[in-house]
């Protein structure tokens, strides 16, 4: 009997934490999303009333919600492949040698990931500035017209995504590098004996063996981009006219700036469902992959 309980005792702390900080908030969010809770209601619960699915109905007819959802989709389509490809290529290149220079480069690529977002926003904000920024100065010095990096509806998405890609690669490079270290030497030597070229070895031996790392990075990167928040928040506050507002930023604005907790919770529940769905689809795809 004792032995049967032991595993439960061991997982209990982890499960308790997951329930308290993972499952419970989601359940509370679902509950709150069915009410008209605002700041007044937070202080005095009698001012909260149950309004059913009204928040969801309002969300579906809210242009700002659809705009932010579209923006998030665009950000993810731009960012996810870019982050994965760039990190993978850099990791493959960094893995080619292990001398002091390459070790220094590794720390160099990791720097953006550990730099404070506010400092990043300040520096990139100055680089992007239309009148006084470095980028436009460089463009003007070769005779090209100014670009409104953070003010043009299309450019702003690319500019914000670029900062996020730059910042997001660091950690993924480390993960890929770790995976590269665990590629068995025997396979590479065997390929050498067969006379395989560098490119052939990379494509046919190394990358397939890194499948799990790539899968992991893909899932976490997609989730991170669906929750995209920091860069637009600090660089543009979602502007101009909501062109760089992601769904998380929209929820933040509704929840914290406008104090519409019920409405924001409804949005967060929808975002949760979207993320859960996308992740499940990926897991399912992975399962068939293993069967082969």
């Amino acid at each position: 009997m004792k032995n049967r309980l032991a595993p439960y005792a061991f997982v209990a702390p982890a499960v308790a934490l997951l329930l308290a900080f993972g499952v419970l908030p989601i359940l509370v969010a679902v509950l709150v999303s069915l009410t008209d809770m605002n700041l007044g209601g937070l202080g005095d619960w009698s001012r909260i009333s149950f309004i059913g699915t009204e928040n969801y109905r309002r969300l579906l007819s809210d242009n700002e919600f659809w705009q932010s959802l579209t923006n998030t989709g665009i950000f993810a389509i731009l960012g996810v492949p870019a982050v994965i490809v760039v990190s993978l290529v850099i990791a493959l290149l960094l893995n080619r040698a292990n001398n002091r220079y390459f070790r220094a480069l590794r720390s160099f690529y990791f720097l953006p990931a550990i730099t404070a977002i506010v400092a990043i926003a300040l520096v990139w904000g100055y680089l992007y500035n239309t009148q006084f920024g470095l980028f436009n100065y460089l463009l003007s010095s070769v005779g090209l017209p100014q670009v409104q990096w953070l003010s043009d509806p299309i450019w702003v998405k690319l500019s914000v995504a670029l900062v996020a890609v730059w910042r997001g690669t660091g950690l993924n490079i480390i993960i890929f590098l770790a995976a590269l270290q665990s590629v068995p030497k025997e396979y590479l030597e065997a390929a050498d004996l067969d006379g395989a070229s560098e490119l052939r070895k990379t494509v046919s031996v190394v990358i397939p063996l890194m499948r799990f790392a790539i899968f992991f990075v893909t899932i976490t990167t997609i989730i991170a981009w669906l929750q995209f928040f920091d860069e637009p928040f600090v660089l543009t506050k979602g502007g101009p006219l909501g062109e760089s507002t992601s769904i998380s930023l929209f929820l933040y604005q509704k929840g914290f700036s406008a104090s519409q907790f019920g409405y924001a919770s409804a949005g967060s529940v929808i975002l949760f469902v979207i993320i859960a769905f996308v992740t499940l689809v990926q897991l399912r795809a992975r399962r068939t992959d293993v069967d082969h």
């Binding site: 937070l42 006084f132 409104q148 976490t220 929750q227 967060s268 949760f272």
Partner: protein, 415 residues
């Protein structure tokens, strides 16, 4: 970008969880001892305020613990404080946030009876635009004026006169004409700057045309000929290409470099210019807000409120009384550069001798508050800005956009 955070999945839920758990998460809650007060001031540093209240602590023996709350995080801070029921004793409230604070029910009602022993807090001591009933919410006064702020016209006298403009524009039509001349200086030069985040500017323009944005029934009403005239000015400046169209235009650099030699801003711009380009002294000045039929400017600034669950209400009121002494207000102006709200302080010779300050104070007397709607920054003002900016930046149809704005805002009440 960070690794996925579960907390974001249910961001709003975290707040409500806070309410459930009843934990405050901050050590700066209301002080229990009658000899202590916790004060939340807005801004990045509490050094000036600490220095200001030193004499108060010396004379009353009440220790004042000041916590500086950055403007950006006031919403979350207020949410946490309301949810946990643990706030400070005294809190500085930006006027644009007054309605949100009052509606949360967190502030103590400051009726005549509560204030009767504090002569400095009588409504007639303060600027009329912000005193007593002017900032009452639903008939209840929940705050007293603290510092004021207004908007005036900043202009580069050297650039204006070099282009044959002898006087700063006195009307918005003149301003538009002058801005066009200044824009003609060359590529990348502008005449005027409209901050795309400034929801007060279109309202000021409407006031200047002699109009109101609140109807007699207490509802927001942009459907007036005066507002249409204001829209003419706003969109006209863009149509003339007299203003930069990028959202990240830096107003201080734009002004000191001469790229945008005119703009409407507050006294804080004067100190920013002085620290960014001290050698520009004498080449710029301020003038009253351009008129249409009136030259009404914005009355902004901050009030002070007492937290409803404070255990030291008397000490809090005593502190507010001290802060409203003319001398205290003048000292704070010297320390921090924020204008007083007390009439006696504004009329003090040390204020009236400075030509810049004379322009500010003159503007202050007729200045008006933004309508005290439930959420100006997040909703009404945002709707106004989004409408105007989508006309000028995205080329949206003017009539349909403005009509949509009427519809979206005309059920917003100021009480």
């Amino acid at each position: 970008m960070k690794r996925p955070r579960l907390s974001w999945v249910a961001s709003a839920a975290a707040v409500s969880l806070l309410a459930l758990a009843g934990c405050s998460g901050s050590g700066s809650a209301s002080a229990a001892s009658p000899k202590e007060l916790t004060v939340w001031v807005m801004g990045d540093s509490s050094a000036h305020f600490d220095e200001l209240v030193k004499p108060f602590t010396d004379s009353s023996g009440i220790k004042v613990d000041t916590v500086a709350i950055p403007w950006d995080s006031i919403d979350q801070k207020l949410t946490t404080a309301v949810a946990s029921g643990k706030g400070p004793d005294v809190v500085q409230i930006g006027l644009s946030k007054l309605r949100v604070f009052a509606d949360s029910g967190a502030l103590l009602k400051l009726d005549d009876k509560t204030l009767q022993n504090y002569p400095n807090l009588a409504a007639d001591k303060f600027l009329d635009g912000v005193a007593g009933n002017a900032t009452a919410i639903g008939g209840n006064v929940v705050s007293v004026p603290w510092v004021s702020d207004t908007r005036v016209l900043f202009y580069r006298s050297d650039i204006l006169s070099a282009n044959g403009i002898a006087q700063p524009p006195a009307t918005w039509d003149e301003l538009r004409a002058d801005a066009k001349i200044l824009t003609g200086r060359g590529k990348g030069r502008y005449g005027y700057y409209i901050p795309q985040w400034d929801s007060a500017l279109p309202v000021i323009m409407t006031w200047c045309q002699g109009g109101q944005v609140v109807g007699s029934d207490g509802m927001i009403n942009f459907n007036t000929p005066e507002f249409q005239k204001a829209v003419d000015v706003y969109t006209g400046l863009y149509a003339d290409k007299s203003v930069p169209t990028n959202a990240d235009f830096d107003q201080v650099q734009g002004f000191t470099s001469g790229i945008a030699p005119m703009l409407v801003s507050g006294p804080y711009l004067a100190s920013a210019i002085n620290s960014a380009a001290p050698d520009l002294k004498g080449k710029w000045s301020v003038a009253p807000m351009p008129a249409g039929t009136a030259n009404t400017s914005l009355l902004a600034g901050s009030n002070m409120g007492v937290w409803g669950s404070s255990k030291n209400v008397n000490g809090a009121l005593k502190l507010l009384d001290f802060l409203s002494e003319p001398q205290t207000q003048l000292t704070f102006y010297k320390l921090d550069g924020q204008l007083p709200t007390v009439k006696a302080a504004l009329a003090d010779p040390s204020m009236t001798s400075d030509p810049l300050v004379t322009v500010y104070t003159k503007q202050l007397y007729g200045a008006k508050l933004l309508p005290l709607v439930p959420n100006w920054d997040g909703e009404t003002g945002k709707a106004l800005l989004d409408a105007l900016n989508s006309i000028v930046l995205k080329g949206a149809n003017r009539d349909s956009t403005i009509n949509a704005l009427f519809g979206a805002t005309n059920s917003t009440s100021v009480s």
